[in-house]
C-alpha cells in the first residue's frame, strides 16, 4: 500500500509540477489544485504501470487522495488473486 501510494504521489506531483513532499494521504485534491483531468490522468498512469483497469464508478466520491488510493489498492489486490 505504501509503495502504491508513493508511486501515485510521484505521478501526481510530476503532473502538477509540485514537490511530492506536499502530498500526503490526507491531502485533498482541492488543496493541490488537482481537477478531474489530473485525477483521471493519474489513474490511467497507474493502470498502465500495473496493467489493470480500475473501475470507473464513483471517482468523484473521493475528495482525499488517500481515500482514492485505498480504494484503488483494494481493487488491485483483488485483481491479483
Amino acid at each position: 500500500m505504501e509503495k502504491f501510494f508513493e508511486i501515485a504521489r510521484k505521478i501526481l506531483a510530476e503532473q502538477l509540477n509540485i514537490d511530492p513532499a506536499e502530498i500526503t494521504m490526507e491531502t485533498t485534491f482541492e488543496e493541490i489544485e488537482a481537477d478531474s483531468i489530473d485525477i483521471v490522468e493519474m489513474i490511467m498512469a497507474l493502470e498502465d504501470m500495473y496493467d489493470v483497469e480500475f473501475p470507473e464508478d464513483d471517482l468523484e466520491d473521493y475528495p482525499v487522495l488517500g481515500e482514492l488510493i485505498k480504494a484503488l489498492y483494494v481493487y488491485l489486490e483483488k485483481e491479483k488473486k
Binding site: Q15, N17, I37, V40, E56, L59
Partner: protein
C-alpha cells in the same frame, strides 16, 4: 480527406449536424464519418440525397451529456460518440474530429486519446476574432480550461503564437495578455504572475497587457487569457454583434460587412491546440451552416498541418 463528426453532441444534434455534413459532402470530395446512434443517423439520412460513398456511419451507442464530469464520463462511456470519433483520428482512420457537444468531454477525449504535445499540460481553444485591419486576432483560451495556472497561460501563449504564425503566415506574431489595464502591475494574481512568465520567455514577442476594448484594434496577433474569461468574452462579443446586426437591419436595412464577420455560424469551429491530432470545437448551438463551416475549418487545419507546425514552432520557442 476523412473527417470524423460527433453527430450526437450539440443543442440541435443530430439533425442539424447531419444536415451540415450532408451539405459539405455534396460540395467536396471528403469522406465524413458520422459517429452516433446508427439507427437514428440512418433514419435522418433518409431525408437527404447525398453521395453515399462519402458519408459513413460509425456506430457509437453512448452520448456524454453536458452536465457530466468530462474526464470521468470519458472513462465511463467508452462507446460515446465523441470518444469513438476521437479514436478514429488516433487510429489514423480520420484526419480530424469535429464536435458541437460538451467541450470538456472533447478536451478530455483529445487529451487522453490523442495525447498532448510535448511540454503542454492542457489543450486550449483558439478563436479568431476579426480585427479592424480585415485580419484576425487570436484569443486563447476560449473555454477549454476554466481554472488556469500562470504556467498554463505561458503555454497558451506559445501555442497561440505558433497557430497565428501558421494561419496569418507571419514570422513574429505579437502576443499580449488580456488584463484590466496596460500597466505591468495591473490585474489579479493570475494576471500578474502570468505577466512575469510571459515577459521572461525568450522569443515570445510579448508586448504586454491589452485591455478588452483593444481586442479589435489589431495591436496584438495573439491575446492570452484563462478559458473562463475567454469564453465569457467571446460570447459577449458574439452577443453584442448579434444585437448590432439586429439594430442595423432595423435602422439601415442592411448589415455592415464588418459585423457579419462576427457571426459564429460563418466561422464554424475553433481548433483545440496542444494535442497530437486535429480536434475542432464548435458552438453547442451550431446549426447546419456552422457545422458546414466547422468542417471547412477542420479541412483547413489538416491542409495546414497544424499539429506538425505547432510542434515545430514550440521546439523553436522552448
Amino acid at each position: 480527406m476523412k473527417i470524423a463528426i460527433d453527430v450526437m453532441g450539440g443543442d440541435h444534434a443530430p439533425t442539424e449536424i447531419i444536415a451540415g455534413a450532408v451539405e459539405w459532402a455534396k460540395k467536396s470530395n471528403d469522406e465524413l464519418l458520422l459517429t452516433g446512434k446508427e439507427d437514428l443517423i440512418a433514419e435522418i439520412l433518409q431525408n437527404y440525397t447525398y453521395p453515399a460513398d462519402q458519408i459513413h456511419i460509425i456506430s457509437a451507442s453512448q452520448v456524454i451529456e453536458m452536465d457530466e464530469s468530462p474526464a470521468v464520463a470519458m472513462r465511463k462511456k467508452k462507446d460515446a460518440s465523441i470518444v469513438v470519433a476521437t479514436r478514429l483520428v488516433k487510429e489514423g482512420r480520420a484526419d480530424a474530429v469535429l464536435s458541437c457537444g460538451s467541450t470538456g468531454a472533447q478536451m478530455a477525449s483529445a487529451l487522453f486519446i490523442l495525447g498532448r504535445i510535448e511540454n503542454i499540460d492542457r489543450p486550449a481553444i483558439v478563436a479568431a476574432i476579426p480585427n479592424r485591419q480585415g485580419s484576425h486576432t487570436f484569443l486563447v483560451d476560449v473555454g477549454a480550461n476554466v481554472d488556469c495556472k500562470p504556467q498554463q497561460l505561458l503555454q497558451f501563449a506559445l501555442l497561440g503564437k505558433a497557430y497565428a504564425g501558421i494561419d496569418l503566415d507571419i514570422n513574429e506574431p505579437r502576443v499580449a495578455l488580456l488584463n484590466n489595464g496596460e500597466e505591468e502591475t495591473k490585474g489579479n494574481s493570475l494576471a500578474t504572475e502570468s505577466y512575469s512568465l510571459l515577459k521572461a520567455q525568450a522569443g515570445l514577442n510579448f508586448i504586454g497587457n491589452i485591455e478588452g476594448r483593444d481586442i479589435f484594434s489589431a495591436k496584438a496577433d495573439v491575446i492570452v487569457c484563462d478559458g473562463f474569461t475567454g469564453n465569457i468574452l467571446l460570447k459577449a462579443i458574439e452577443g453584442l454583434a448579434q444585437e448590432a446586426v439586429q439594430s442595423c437591419l432595423h435602422e439601415l436595412e442592411k448589415i455592415p460587412s464588418f459585423l457579419s464577420r462576427f457571426d459564429y455560424s460563418r466561422v464554424g469551429g475553433a481548433p483545440l491546440l496542444g494535442v497530437e491530432g486535429i480536434s475542432i470545437v464548435c458552438h453547442g448551438s451550431s446549426k447546419r451552416e456552422a457545422v458546414y463551416n466547422g468542417i471547412k475549418t477542420a479541412r483547413d487545419c489538416v491542409v495546414k498541418d497544424i499539429v506538425k507546425r505547432q510542434k515545430l514552432a514550440l521546439t523553436q520557442s522552448l
